[in-house]
Symmetry: none
Subunit: 201 residues, 4 copies
DNA sequence: TATGAATGAGATTTCATTCAT
DNA sequence: CATGAATGAAATCTCATTCAT
C-alpha cells in the first residue's frame, strides 16, 4: 500500500537529517548512508527524492537560508516603529535567532560557506542571500546618512554579524547569542550615532 | 635526479602546492594526486615526507598560522610609538597583509576553519591562534578602558576582522584589502574614542 | 539482479572463494580483487559483508575450524563403543576427513597457521582449537594411563597429526590421506599398547 | 674510501636481519625497509647484494637449511657407534638443535614453509631438504627392517619431527626442545623395538 | 660501496548511485 | 513507495626498486 503524500515529509526528514549529520561529523564525513540512517530510511531514497546527494545538499542550504530570511522577516513584520534603527535591529535579532544559532544550523551554515567557494550552485544561493542582507542594510542606513557612508556601514555591520557567527560556530561551547546581540547592537549604535545629526545629506 | 638535503625543499613545495590546490578546487577535491601534480612530484612522496595526507594538511595549516603571526609581529616590531592604537592598528594591518589576503592563503584559511570543527588536531591549532589574537587585543584595550569593556572591544574587533576576511574569501573578486583595513580601523577608532576620557580604571 | 536475503549466500561464496584463491596463489597474493573474481562479484562487496579483508580472512579461518570440529564430532557421535581407542580413532579420522584434506582447505589451513603467529585474532582462534584437540586426547588417554604419560601421548599424537598434515600440504601431489591415517593409527596403537596392562593407576 | 671485502659481511648481516624481522612481525610485514633498518643499512643495498627482495629471502632460506644440515651432520660425525639408533638419534638431536629452535629460526622456518607452497624457488629448496631427511631416515631404518616398513617409519618420524616443530613455533612460549626430543626419541624407540628381532628380512 | 630521493604499480577501502523486487 | 544488493570509480597508502651522487 503505497503511502501518498509522503514526499514533503520525507524531504523534510532528510533535510533535517543532513543538518544533524553535518553537525555531528562535518560535511566531509556526512555520507548518504549516515544521513539516511539519521532519517531512519535507506540510502537509495535520497537519489529518489533529490536526484542525488548534491540535490539534497542544495535543498538543505536553501532551507537554512529560507529559515534565516523568515526569522528576519518575522521580526520586521511586527515592528512598532519604522526607524532605521528598528529595522536594522530586527535584522540583527533575526540573524541571532534561536533556530539559527543552535548547533546543527550554525555548523551546517559554516560548512556550506566554505563549500560554496567551489560549488557554483551553492555559491549562487550564497550570493543571493548576501546581497539581500547588504541591500537591506544599505537601504536603511541610507535613510540617515550619505550613500558612501551607508555602504560602509552596511559592509561593516554585515562583517560584524558574520564574524560573530563564525567565531561562535568555532568555539566548542557554541555561540553566546546574548553576547553576540549585544556587540552587534552596540556597533549599530555607534554607526548611527555618527550620523544622527546629519540626515541624508 | 635525486640529491641530498631535499627534505625542506620538498616540504615547502608540497605545502605551497596544497594551498594552490585548495584555492583551485577546494579542500574536498584537493586529492594527494592533484597536490602532487601541482608540486611536480609523485603522490607517494607525500606519505614519505608527511606520513600521510593529514600530516600535510596539518603542516599547511601550521604554515598559514605562522605566516599570519609573523606578519603581525613584523609590524609590531617597527612601531614608532607604544600606544594601544598603534599596537592594535599593527594587528589589523598584519591580518590584512598582502600574503594573507591573496587567493590561496585566504581560501585555504577558510577551508581549514570549517574543517577544524571536526578535526581535533586542526581545532587545537585554531584555538591557540584565536586565543593569542584575543589576548593581545584584550591586553591593549585594557590599557585604556575597564576590563569588561576591554573584553567586549576585543571580541568585537576580532569578530570584525574575521568577518571581513570571511566575506572577502567568498566574493569572487577576492577581498578588497584596502576597504577592509579602512573599516577595521574605523571600528577601532570608535572603540577607542568611547574611552579616551576615562583612563584605565 | 539483486534479491533480498543474499547475505548468507554471499558470505558463503566469499569464504569459499577465499580458500580457492589461497589454494591457487597463496595467502600473500590472495587480494580482495582476486577473491572477488573467484566469487563472481565486485571487490567492494567484501567490505560490505565482512567489514574488510581481515574480517573475511577471520571468517574463513573460523569456517575451517568449524568444519574440522564438525568432522570429528560427527564421527564420535556414531561410535559403536566408548573405548579410548574408538574415540581417539574418530579424532584421527575426522582430522583426515575428505573435506579437510582436499587441496583448498589444507593449504588455507597451513597459510593461516603461519599467519596466526603475528595476528592476535587468528592466534586466538588457533589456540582455542589446539587446546580442544589436546584436551580431548588427554582425557581419553587418561582413561588408560597415568596422567604424565597421558599428557605425553596427547602431545605426541597431536604432533603426529599436524606433522602429517603439514607434510601433506607441502607435497605437490597433496596429502595421501590413506597413508596418513594408517601412520596415525599405528602410532596410536603403539601408545595404547604400552599401557594396556596398567589401568589408570 | 670504499671498503673492500664487505660483501660477505653485508650478506650475513642482511640474512640475519631478515630472520629477526620475520620473527618480529612475520613474513608479510617484513619489508625491505624494516630488514634494512635491522641491519643498520639503507634499503637500496638489498637490491645491490641480492638482486632484490626475493634473492634475499632465498638466501635466508638457504642459510636456514644449511644450518640445519650442518647441525645434523656435526652430530653424526662424532657418533661413537654406527647403529641405526645412533644415526637417527643424531638426526633428531640435530633437528632440535639450539640454534634451530630459537625464536627467529623457528618462525622463519615456518613462514618459509607456508610461502614455499607457491614459490617455485623456495619449494625446490624445501624439497631437496625434505628428500634428504627422508632418504637418510629410510636408509637407517632399512638396516633393521623390511623396505615397506622402513618407509613408513621414515614417514612417521619425519612427520613427528615436523609436527613437534610446527606446534612449538605456534605456542607463545616457544618450543620446549627438551620435551620435543624426549617425545621423538620415544617414538623412535617404539619404531625400532618392533623390529629389533627381525633383521632386514 | 652506500645512501637518500623518488617513482609507479598495486592493494584496500569508501561511497554515491543504480536497479530489481 | 522503499529497500537492500551490488557496482565501479576514486582516493590513500605501502613498498620494492632504480638512480644520481
Amino acid at each position: 500500500m503505497p503511502k501518498i503524500g509522503m514526499e514533503p515529509i520525507r524531504r523534510q526528514q532528510l533535510i533535517h537529517a543532513t543538518m544533524t549529520a553535518i553537525d555531528e561529523v562535518g560535511l566531509a564525513e556526512a555520507t548518504v548512508l549516515r544521513i539516511a540512517r539519521h532519517a531512519g530510511v535507506s540510502a537509495g531514497i535520497i537519489s529518489h527524492y533529490f536526484g542525488g546527494k548534491d540535490g539534497l545538499l542544495e535543498a538543505t542550504m536553501r532551507q537554512i537560508l529560507t529559515d534565516l530570511s523568515e526569522a528576519v522577516a518575522a521580526r520586521r513584520r511586527v515592528l512598532s516603529e519604522d526607524s532605521p534603527r528598528a529595522h536594522i535591529g530586527a535584522i540583527i535579532e533575526g540573524n541571532f535567532d534561536r533556530t539559527q544559532v543552535t548547533g546543527p544550523a550554525a555548523k551546517t551554515w559554516l560548512a556550506f560557506w566554505a563549500s560554496s567557494m567551489h560549488k557554483p550552485m551553492l555559491q549562487r544561493l550564497q550570493n543571493v542571500n548576501d546581497r539581500r542582507l547588504y541591500a537591506n542594510l544599505c537601504y536603511q542606513f541610507r535613510r540617515v546618512m550619505p550613500r558612501a557612508q551607508a555602504r560602509n556601514a552596511a559592509r561593516g555591520l554585515a562583517a560584524m554579524i558574520d564574524g560573530l557567527w563564525l567565531r561562535g560556530a568555532l568555539t566548542p561551547e557554541g555561540l553566546d547569542a546574548e553576547q553576540a546581540r549585544t556587540l552587534a547592537h552596540a556597533y549599530l549604535d555607534q554607526l548611527l550615532s555618527q550620523t544622527s545629526a546629519q540626515p541624508t545629506a
